[in-house]
């Protein structure tokens, strides 16, 4: 956008301010919380606990003294939301997942994939893509509903991020430990079809609208088998608290007790995430790019990031419900039990994500009527069967409650 007069200049400045506001929760806040404590004493006022301003001033002179301050910081809720189990961590994993997906798909198709950005196998490709997307002009259709159109990427990000808050990475690293965590997860999930529909409607264009309608149909009809299959886990664990569900699996992951439920949950999750073979809302030859057709530049970037954050969060939910969350053999020294738990959770979640990426190379897209038939006819039935299996298992007393 060339700057020709004062109005353009103001617009440009506002645009920059806008992006700074967008990225501050992702990048700047984590930086502030890690770097500044060792440099600025004033921040210390915000810290609860025994550390005073004098300690922070001392830390300015001696970096070693900043360690306890940082440990205090890591206990704050803000750190949890913005940095570790929350946004930055999820955004990192999401961009990593995009890269992994591209490389994996390329290897399956006898290609090389991203190769030149970064010294090794194109590891910096996500950063290059981010810079490209920021540099692009944002084009909004003239008759689009501007407010709704601008809100979509951030609403998608907010909903995806809300899921992060309840998925426990380890016993300590969970943002909110709710007693009804599982119900809340499904409550948040029911926002996705609304976002897709509003995105399609706000674009005021035919292909996005058809895509939004398809997303609505697909997500609503696959949410029910998803919920019912997760009910089996709730019956087994006797709790809706996700942390408690994981703790019940300390001896045996529910995948072995509930294989049918896990399969139904996995398939329904693929549909919920719009991944091939269920990527009908973005079916390329028919609907161009589905409800994201009119998105451009960073609006598209944020939406795409939100989709992958959601991907990570739901894969984490699968790990929590069926793969025993953070439990795993101790590979680190015993005093680092927390790190061990985080590593196991991440490895399991990434494995689930990779498993969801593989069909993209081996399957064709399914048709909407066949998909709805499969969802309402078969998955729903299997999910009901699964609940009875869970009840039988509980009655036999295989799983300790």
């Amino acid at each position: 956008m060339p700057i020709e007069n004062f109005e353009d200049f103001i617009k440009r400045v506002l645009e920059i301010v806008f992006w700074v506001l967008v990225f501050s929760p992702l990048v700047i806040f984590p930086l502030i919380f890690i770097v500044l404590p060792s440099m600025m004493g004033l921040i210390g006022i915000m810290i609860p606990g025994p550390i005073g301003v004098n300690d922070i001033l001392a830390a300015l002179a001696d970096p070693l003294k900043s360690i306890p301050i940082m440990t205090e910081f890591m206990k704050t809720d803000f750190f949890k939301i913005a940095v570790f189990p929350g946004f930055t961590w999820a955004a990192l994993i999401a961009t990593g997942a995009i890269l992994i997906e591209r490389k994996l798909l390329a290897k399956m198709q006898l290609r090389v994939g991203p190769l030149y950005a970064g010294k090794f196998e194109g590891v910096l490709q996500p950063i290059a893509d981010l810079l490209k997307l920021i540099a692009k002009e944002i084009i909004i259709p003239r008759r689009a509903d501007k407010l709704a159109f601008w809100c979509i990427p951030f609403a998608a990000m907010a909903v995806g991020g809300a899921l992060l808050a309840i998925v426990p990475v380890s016993k300590q690293w969970v943002v909110t430990n709710l007693d009804v965590g599982l119900v809340v997860a499904f409550a948040i999930m029911s926002f996705f079809p609304i976002i897709a529909l509003v995105a399609g409607w706000a674009s005021n264009s035919k292909y996005p609208f058809l895509g939004g309608l398809r997303a609505l149909h697909q997500m609503v009809s696959y949410e029910i088998p998803l919920l019912l299959s997760a009910l089996g886990v709730a019956v087994l664990a006797g709790s809706l608290n996700l942390v408690k569900i994981v703790e019940t699996q300390s001896s045996i992951p529910f995948l072995l007790v509930q294989p049918l439920g896990a399969i139904v949950f996995f398939i329904a999750l693929m549909a919920e995430l719009e991944r091939i073979p269920f990527d009908l809302p973005e079916a390329e030859p028919e609907l161009v790019a589905g409800w994201m057709t009119e998105m451009s530049g960073m609006l598209f970037g944020v939406t795409q990031l939100a989709v992958y954050v959601k991907f990570y969060a739901l894969a984490g939910l699968f790990t929590t419900l069926y793969l025993g969350g953070w439990y795993g053999p101790q590979i680190l020294p015993p005093e680092m039990a927390e790190a061990n738990a985080v590593i196991w959770f991440t490895v399991k979640t990434l494995a689930v994500m990779v498993l969801m990426m593989v069909p993209r190379g081996t399957m064709t897209r399914i048709r909407i009527d066949l998909m709805l038939k499969a969802g309402w006819g078969r998955l729903l039935f299997l999910a009901f069967v699964n609940i009875f299996i869970a009840i039988v298992v509980v009655q036999l007393g295989i799983v300790p409650r």
Partner: protein, 358 residues
């Protein structure tokens, strides 16, 4: 709701389909061709017989030999000359190589239209080995301008037979993998079986040609029915399926590649030594008269009608291309199918807009 699919849409070529949908069902589909019309027939009237060769193969560059073949045959008919025997075999090899590359292109686009991206990449990669092979004879990768009246421009090198044999062996193994991952894939069955059914009677009435006609149960192949060059000396089968749906069309393309490879192998065995070109004057002046030639190109019967008034230029040249013959079936087949099946049906007919617009 009326949707304008194309000309800038990932699911159309250089042409437009105006589709009226009721919910997810297509009520009416109107094809709107002509975006890449280049006036090939008129252009041919102001160029001499040799100058016509390069521009005639442009409408269908992925099947460049196929679209040029009948032109060369028709001009030879006008001149009353015929190509040396070796040249006839080389032409057949080139035509079959082009058939394979064109069918691989078909397969890959069919794959991406079904959302199967691996099936987009693999045939595109394997197409490259056949392009290399035809480059050994033709000299360039796709637009060879290799056939000339009275023979071919250049001979096949000695190493060709060996390399062709190796390539065919490699590709037969790959075809099995394609079958495993794509053609026999249950999701692919679900998407294509029973979709866009063209019955035998309708196919004959509409005048559909090529693989689409054979998929509807009509055993019609110009190579078998009216053999030209040395096609009567090679032994091959014409794959025919009676279902007439998108899956049958996919299978016909698939089986034809196997038959093409068998033809190439037989040609290499039977090919005699000798010249590949008759001496003809650089400025061809066929006697006044008319000629008609028909061949089987990758997309179906391809026919040329040339009228000569004894001058340097053709008086009139009429191209009858396969894609344009199949265009008429698109609105007929799309009526009543799901919007999601539109790409499958449309591309299943192997419609190539550039070829149809001439």
């Amino acid at each position: 709701m009326t949707l304008s699919v194309g000309p800038q849409h990932p699911g159309s070529g250089h042409f437009r389909l105006i589709i009226t949908v009721d919910g997810d069902i297509i009520v009416k589909a109107e094809p709107d061709p002509g975006y890449v019309h280049r006036g090939e027939e008129k252009m041919a009237e102001v160029r001499n017989y040799i100058q016509n060769i390069p521009h005639i193969e442009r409408p269908s560059i992925i099947d460049a030999s196929g679209i040029l073949y009948p032109y060369v045959l028709a001009v030879e008919d006008l001149l009353g000359k015929s190509a040396p025997e070796r040249a006839q075999y080389i032409r057949m090899i080139m035509a079959e190589l082009n058939r394979i590359t064109s069918h691989l292109y078909f397969l890959s686009i069919f794959g991406i239209f079904l959302g199967h991206s691996t099936m987009f990449m693999w045939p595109m990669g394997d197409r490259e080995v056949f392009i290399d092979l035809s480059q050994m004879i033709g000299g360039t990768r796709i637009t060879f301008s290799h056939f000339v009246p009275g023979g071919v421009r250049s001979d096949a090198p000695d190493s060709f037979a060996d390399k062709a044999e190796k390539t065919c062996d490699y590709f037969e193994g790959r075809l099995k993998e394609y079958e495993r991952i794509f053609v026999n894939n249950p999701l692919c069955h679900q998407r294509t079986v029973g979709v866009g059914v063209l019955t035998k009677e309708d196919a004959i009435k509409l005048g559909v040609v090529g693989p689409s006609l054979r998929a509807s149960g009509v055993k019609s192949d110009t190579r078998r029915d009216e053999p030209y060059d040395a096609y009567d000396k090679v032994d091959f089968e014409v794959p025919v399926y009676s279902e007439g749906d998108s899956y049958a069309r996919l299978r016909v393309h698939f089986d034809e590649m196997r038959q093409s490879m068998s033809i190439i192998r037989q040609c290499i065995k039977q090919m005699p030594k000798g010249p590949v070109k008759q001496k003809l004057p650089p400025q061809l002046r066929p006697p006044a008269g008319e000629a008609y030639a028909r061949t089987e190109a990758a997309r179906g019967a391809m026919a040329y009608y040339i009228v000569s008034d004894g001058g340097n230029y053709p008086y009139r040249l009429k191209m009858n291309v396969a894609s344009f013959r199949n265009l008429i079936a698109i609105p007929y087949l799309l009526k009543g199918v799901h919007l999601a099946d539109m790409p499958t049906v449309y591309w299943g007919l192997d419609y190539w807009p550039v070829e149809a617009d001439k």
